[in-house]
Subunit: 254 residues, 8 copies
C-alpha cells in the first residue's frame, strides 16, 4: 500500500467514513490472495512495478495449476522453472497457458502486453547458455520489455562480440550470460556505457563448480559497475532490467 | 574509439588524408596514457560514460602521485582504497587533492562537476557499514550523480526503514549496503520499484566469513531483480547506479 | 539413569538387596533395546524429556519395520525421513502406522498423546518450505506439543507477515523456516519476544548452495537471540521447541 | 509498537484526539533515537523483551561514547566486542561504565537490575573458551538473568562433565560453548532435557577453520533439539536463553 | 624390491651371474602384472605387508573380471566399491568369488587366510554406518586380521558406549565410524589407550556436507592421538589397523 | 585476422580497391559461420593454430549434427563430451563420424591429418583415469600430434613409473592424469625436464571432492614448472601440448 | 577409572567399607585437579596411556604457570603452542621448565623418562616443516618414545627419500610431515609396511590454503592405510605413534 | 642420475671397476648437498633442466645464508619469497648476492648466464600484478631465458592489449598474470597460438578470496589450452616457460 493510500485510509478513519476494524481488515484483504499453501502477493505491482511471478520448483503441479486458475482471471501469469510435466498439468486445467521448454517458462496472457520504451540486449557466451537467455527473454516479455538475444559471442573468439557491438549499444540495458569463467561480462562491461547485469551460468564442469567460478569472476570484474545475479537466474536479471527500464520511463515522463 | 570515429578514420585513410601508418598510430596513441607501470585508459569516458578510476591497493604512493599529476592536468581524478599514508604523499605533490578518510577516497576536482538528473539513495543496515557508503557517495559525486546516505536502518528494527521509506522512494536508483546476513536488501527490494544494487559488507564475524554470508544472501534474495556487487564494493555500486542514471538521461533526451 | 535412581541402586547394593553383578547388569539392561543392527535408547525420555526418534535414511525398510514392531508394543513411535517405499513396508507389518507423505514422517500412536501447555508457531517463507514445516508439525504432535503452520509469508511481500503477526505472538515458541537467503528469520526475530528457532531449507538454486546461504544468513542474523538448526531439520527445530515448552511447564509447576 | 498501542493510536485518530500528521510523527518519533550515524532502536524492549545492545566492532570510540551518554540517561547500556582502547574512551566520558576485559563487554547500570526467575548454566569445553562464556554471562546479567559458568569439562575427559551434571540439570536453559570439534554439545544434549544453545568457538587451529568445524559439528549433532548460534557469539546465546527465560516467566504468570 | 633383494641383484651382476640387461629386466618384470589397462602391483606385499586391493569404481566389470582371473590363480583377491552388477559379472567368470552386498566387497579366497595376533574393534555411531563397517571388516578378514563390529553406540545415548567399553578395551586397535558430527571419535579417543582410527561417514544431510562435518570434527578432536581416514573409507581404516597389527606382531617376534 | 592481413585490408581501402563498407563486411564475414544458436569461429586456426572444437554438453544432438554437416564439408571436426545418444544422432546425419565411447569424443576426418614433429606422453595414475586420457589422445590426433598412453603407473607402486620412465623421457611434452591426491604430477615433474601438463581427475570419493583435492595438489606441487588444467580436462591438456609442439615446430623451421 | 577399579569401589560399598557418599566423592576427587579456570584431567594416564598435555594457545601465561606449578610437583609436564613470552613467564615461576623455540614446546621433567621399546621416524618434505617435526619429537620424548627426524626429503628430489629409506624402515611407526601438496605421504605409504601417520602443514601459499591442500591430498592418498591428523598437529601425530608403541609393547609382554 | 649414467654405473660394477658398496654410496653422494636442515638437490639440473631454487618462506635467514655460501661456490643461486630482512642477512655473508625488492628475489651470479633461444612475454592485467611479474622475470633470467614485461593491459580497456599484441606474438611462450576475475588469460588465450601459462594473483578483495576467483576463472577458461599455476606463482610460471623453451631448443638441434 503506497504512502498516498495509507494517508487516505487514515483520513477516512478520522472522518468516520471507515471504522477502525474495517481499516485493519482493508489493510489485510487488499493485499493477498490466500490459497492456504500460497499467499499470492497482489500488492507487488504497486510496490515493485511488476507482479509476483511463480517459482515452479518445490511446488506441486496442482498448486501451480490452482494459482494459474485463480490469478489468471484477473491478470497475466508467469511461472519459471516449470518442468514439462508441470506444464502439461497446468495446460490441462488452463488451456491458454503457453510453455517455452528451452526457457522452462509457462505463461498466460489474458490482457494485452503494454510495451515499454527501450530494449534489452541479452548476450550469451555460448550456445549452452541459451536456456537462461530464454528465461530472461520470456520474463522481459511478460513485464512489457522488448528483448533481443545475441548468442555465442564468448571471448574465445572475441571478434564475434565486436561484430555484434552495434546491436548491443542500441539497447537501454544489457544482460550478459556466461558460464565457465564468465569473462564475457568484463569484456562487455569494458566496452559499453549501459547498465550491465551479469548472469553466471552453471555451464562448465570441474572447477566451474556449477557456476561458482563464473559467479566469482563476475563479482570481481575489473570492468566498473557490472552487477551480478544468482547463477542461472535469467528471471532475476530480466526483473533488474525491467526496474531500469521503469526508472528511465519514469524519467522520460517528468 | 566509437563506431563513428572509426568510420571517420577509415574514410580519411581512403581519401588519402591519413596514411596507413598514421592511422595505426592514431588508434594507439589517442587511447592510453602510458606511464610504464600503468597504462591509463583515456578512452573510458567515451566507452563507459565515466573515466578510469585509480584502485589504490597494491600501488605505491609514488605511482598514484604520478597518475594524479599526469591525469590531473586535464580532468578530475578519483582514487579509491587509499590509505592515509598514500593520501599524504599524493597531497604533498598535488596539494588540491582532497581525502575522505572514512571512505578512503582521494579526489581532485579541476573542472566543475556537471550534475546529472536523478538522485541515488544509499541505505545502510548499520553504523559499521558507513565506510562503504562513503566510498559510494564519493564515487557518485565524482561521476556527477547526487547521492544521499540513510544510515543504520537494518531489519532488526524494521520501523527505522519504514520511517525512511519516502526518502528511498524519491531516488532514481537505490544502493543497499549491509553486512552480517544482508537481509536489508531483500526487504528493500520487496518494498520499492527502483533498480536496487546490493553491496554486501565484511561487517560481522564468525559465520559472516568476511562478507560471504551477506553476499550469498543478497544473491539469493527472494525479492526479484536485486543485483549484487563484490563485498565492500561501494565504488562498483556507484558506477552501476551511474550507468542507470546515464541510461535514463539518454532516454529523457530522446 | 537419573541421579536419584543411581543413588537408589548404590544404596541397594550397600544394603545387600542388590548384588554387584546384578547392579552392573541393571545399569545395562534397563537402558537399551538391542536389535543387533540398532541399540534403541530406552532411557531417552528420562534423560531428554522425549523418546528416541528413528532416522529413516540409511536404514533398510526391514530394520525400520522391526523397530516399529518391537518398540511399538510399549510406546508411540515416530520415524522421520521415511520414503513412500519404506512407509509401505512398515505399514504392511504394522498396519496402524500412519504416513505423512509431504513431511515424510511415519507415526504410530498406541497411547493417547498427552498435550502440553503452550503452542508453537511454525512460520514458512514460501510454499516450497512446507515439507520441512510438516516434519516439524508431526514431531511436535508426537511430543505432545500443539503447532500451527503459517505458510508463505516471506519478506518479498512483508505485509503477509505483518498481517499474521498476532498469531505468531500468541505462541510460546516460534519456528521460522526459510530457504534462499533466509531473511525471514531476522525479520521475525526483530519483531517478536519469544524464542525463535530458525530452520534453513534447501529451497533455492545456484548460490543457495542447497541451503548454505540460508544457514549462514540465519547464523549471522542481526536479530538477537535467534538460534539455528541444520538445513531442512524440521525435526530438530520441533525438539528444540519441545525442550522450551518442557522447561516452561516445569516452571509453571514450581 | 505493539498491537494494542497501534489500536489505541488509530482510535485516537478516529476520535479526533490525534491528528493524522501527529499520528504519523508519533509512529516515527517514539521508536528511534537518531544520532546521525546511528538510529538507536528504542522500541526493542517492547518488541523483543530486551533492549538494543551496542556491537562495538566497526564503530569509533566516539560513536560508542555518544551512545552511552545519550542512552545511559534513561536505561542500562551494554556494549559487546569492545576493545580496551574503546572502553577507556567511553569511561573517560561516562565514568560509571564498567569494563570486563576477558569478555570484552562494557556495561553501564543506572537502574537496578530486576532478576528473572530461572538460571542459565554456561558450560565450556576448555579454558580457552572462557572469553565467550564471559560475554554470555555479562549479557545474561544485563538482561536480568542469573548465569553460572562451568569451565573446562570437555569430552576428552568426560568424567569432568559427569561430575558437574547436577549443576547443569538445575538450570532452566543450558549454553554449551566449545571449539575444535564441538562434541561437548552433542554429549550435553544427549544427557539433559533442557533447551541447549550451542556456541561454537574459534578455539583451535588448522582444520578448525576458525570455528567452522565446531559450527558444523553442532549443527549436525546427533542429540535432538540442540540449536546453534554464530561462532563466538556468547551474546546471541545469552539473548536466546533470555527469550526462553522470558517465555517461561510468562507461562508461570498465567 | 627390498634392500636385501637389491643388494643380491647387484652382487649377482658383479659376479657375472646376471647380465646388466637381465638385471634391468628383472627389476621390471618381477614387480608388475601388466594387463594393458592395469599394471597390478605384485610387489606390494613385500613393501606394505598386504597385497594390492582392487578399487572397483571407475573400472568396467570386464576389467575387474580379468584381474580376478589373472591374479586369482596365485593369491587371494579383494575388490572394494563393487556394485551388484559388477559382482554378478565377476562371479560369472570366477564362480568362487563371494559378494558382501552391504559392504560392497567382492572376495576370492584361494589360499587359507593366516590369522594374525590381535583383534580390531570396529565401533559405529549408528545403524546407517554399517556399510562402512562391513567394508572395514571384510578388508581386515582378507588381511588376516580378526575384527568385531559394535554397532549403534553413538553419543546421543552415551550409556550404550559405556556398556560396550570392555569389548572395545580388549582389542589391539579401534576403528570408530561415525557420520553427522562424528563426536564418537572424540569420546572413544578419550576413554581408551589404543590406537584409534576414525572414519567419517557421509551419513547425515544438510550441514553434514556428505561427511565433511564429521571429517573436520574428527581432525580437530580434543582427544589426543586420534587419526583420520577419508570419508567412508572403511578399507583404508582396516589397512591402517593392519599396519598396526603387523608392527606389533613384528615386535612380539623380536 | 592477423596483423599482416589487417595491413593489407587497410592498404586496399587506401588504394580504393576496397570500399569502406566492404572492408567492414569483410572483417565480419570471413570469421564466423553463423548458425543462429552457434557462431562457429572460423578464424581460430589462424589465431590459435587449431580449429574450434565442439563442446557437446548443454547442446542438443540436433545442434551438434548441424555443426558437423556445415563445418564437415570443409574441414575435420572434433566434438568432446558427446554422449552415446548424441553420437548416434550425429552419425545418422553424418555417417562418416566416428565415436570413441571411452573418451566420449566424436570425430570426422575429411582431410588427411598432417602429423607434426614430436610426440606427447600421456601418463595416468590409475585405470579409472583412462576416459580422460582417451579424450586427450583423440584431441592430439585431430590436431596432428602423436600421443601414447602409459596407464596405471601411480605412486602407490612407484616402480611402475620408474620402469616406464624411458618412454616418458622420449616425448616432447608430458600430460599427467591423476585423481585422488594427484601426487603423480609432482613425482613426474621432479623426474623429467619436459613441459608437464597435469590434469586432475574426478576419480576418488569423499575428500576427493570430485577432483578438487587432485587439483589443489597439482597447483601446489613441489615440482617446479608443472602447470594445471581444469578437472577431467583431457581436451585442454592436449591443446596445451599442441601449443607447445607448434611452438617447437616454429622454432625448428627458423 | 578402569573397570577393575569400579568393581572394587562397588564391592567396597557393598561390604560397607565405603559409604555411598564417599563412593560418589571418590569418583569425583581422584580424577581432576580443579584450578577454577582449568580442570586438569588426572585420570588420563590410566585411560589413554599418557598424561594430559597443556594446549598453550588461548590460555594466559599466568594460567599455564599455575598449571606447571600445581601439576609439576607430581609428574612431568608438557605444554605445546607456547609462545616465547609465555615460556619466559612460566620459567620465571618454574625455573626448571625448558623451552624449545622451534617446536614451541615447554617441558618440565621431574621424574626420569622411562623409554619404551620401538622408535618413531619423523620424515619431513622440506626445511620449513621442521617446527611441526620438533613438536612431534618433543611430544614423543615426554611420552617415553624415541624419535628421529629425517628432514627435507620431499618428492621433488625423490632420491633423497630413497637414500634414507633404510632408516625409515628401521622404525616401528612413521610420521610424515609435508606441506604444499603433501605427496610425500603417498610415496612413503607406498614404500613402507609400518603404520604411517601423515601430518599436513601450512607450509605453502595461494592454493595451499594454509594446509588444506596437503590435508586433502593426504586424506585421499592412493597408498593404503595412511591416516591423517589435523594441519600442523605434530603433537597429535606423536600421540598416535605413542598409542601404537604402547599397543605393541602390550603385545610383546603377552 | 640419468639413464645413461645408471647404465655406466651398473657396467662399472659388473666390470669390477666399482664395488657394490661404492656404487650404493655414489648413488647417494653425488646427488645431495646435506646441510642437516636442508638436503640441497644437486641432481636437479640433470633431471629437470634447471637447478633447485630456494623457497625463502619458512626458512631462517641463517639457513638461506648458509645455502648461498655452500652452493654459491659452484653455481648461480636464486632464492624466491625473500624478505628484505632475509636479503640483508644473506648479503652480509655473501656480498655479491643481488636483491630485487619488488619481485622479492635474491640472486647470485657466479657463472655467466647462457642465454637460450626464444623469448617469453610476461603480460599483466594491472599495475598491482607487477611483483609476480618481476618474480617470473628474475626466474627466467636465472634460467637463461629472456623475458619482457607488458604491464597493465587488462580487459577493462581491451585496446591496451590489442595495441601490444605484436609484441606478444613475437614471443615463444606467454605468461599471463592477472588478479580479480583473471579474464585476461581467456582473452590472450583466444588471440595467440603460443603456449599460454596463466598465473592468478591475489590482487583484489572480497569475492576475490585472495586469488581464488582468478584461479578458478583461469582453470575454466573458454580459451583452449591455457594452463595454470598456483596463485602468485611467478616462479612456477617461469619454470614452465623454461621447460617449453628447453623442449624447443632440443627440437631445433635435432
Amino acid at each position: 500500500m503506497s504512502g498516498g493510500s495509507l494517508e487516505k485510509l487514515l483520513t477516512d478513519i478520522r472522518d468516520g467514513s471507515l471504522s477502525v476494524a474495517d481499516g485493519m481488515n482493508l489493510l489485510r484483504e487488499s493485499s493477498v490472495l490466500d490459497l492456504g499453501h500460497t499467499k499470492f502477493d497482489l500488492q507487488r505491482p504497486a510496490r515493485n512495478g511488476f507482479p509476483e511471478v511463480i517459482y515452479g520448483e518445490g511446488k506441486t503441479p496442482e498448486q501451480v495449476g490452482e494459482i494459474f486458475l485463480r490469478v489468471g482471471d484477473r491478470s497475466n501469469v508467469l511461472a519459471t522453472r516449470v518442468s514439462a510435466e508441470m506444464a502439461a498439468h497446468v495446460q490441462s486445467v488452463c488451456p491458454n497457458a503457453e510453455y517455452n521448454p528451452l526457457g522452462r517458462a509457462l505463461t498466460l496472457v489474458v490482457k494485452p502486453i503494454v510495451w515499454k520504451q527501450g530494449e534489452v540486449a541479452i548476450v550469451t557466451a555460448g550456445t549452452s547458455d541459451l536456456p537462461v537467455a530464454e528465461e530472461a527473454r520470456e520474463t522481459c516479455r511478460m513485464l512489457g520489455v522488448r528483448a533481443k538475444i545475441l548468442a555465442d559471442v564468448g571471448v574465445a573468439g572475441i571478434h564475434r562480440l565486436i561484430n555484434n557491438l552495434p546491436e548491443v549499444l542500441a539497447a537501454r540495458a544489457v544482460i550478459v550470460i556466461a558460464g565457465m569463467e564468465g569473462a564475457l561480462a568484463s569484456v562487455v562491461g569494458g566496452l559499453v556505457p549501459q547498465p550491465v547485469v551479469a548472469v553466471p551460468t552453471s555451464v562448465g564442469y570441474g572447477a566451474s563448480f556449477a557456476g561458482l567460478s563464473a559467479l566469482l569472476g563476475m563479482l570481481t570484474s575489473c570492468a566498473s559497475g557490472v552487477t551480478v545475479t544468482n547463477i542461472d537466474n535469467g528471471f532475476g536479471a530480466a526483473c533488474a532490467a525491467c526496474r531500469i527500464i521503469n526508472a528511465c520511463e519514469g524519467n522520460s515522463k517528468t
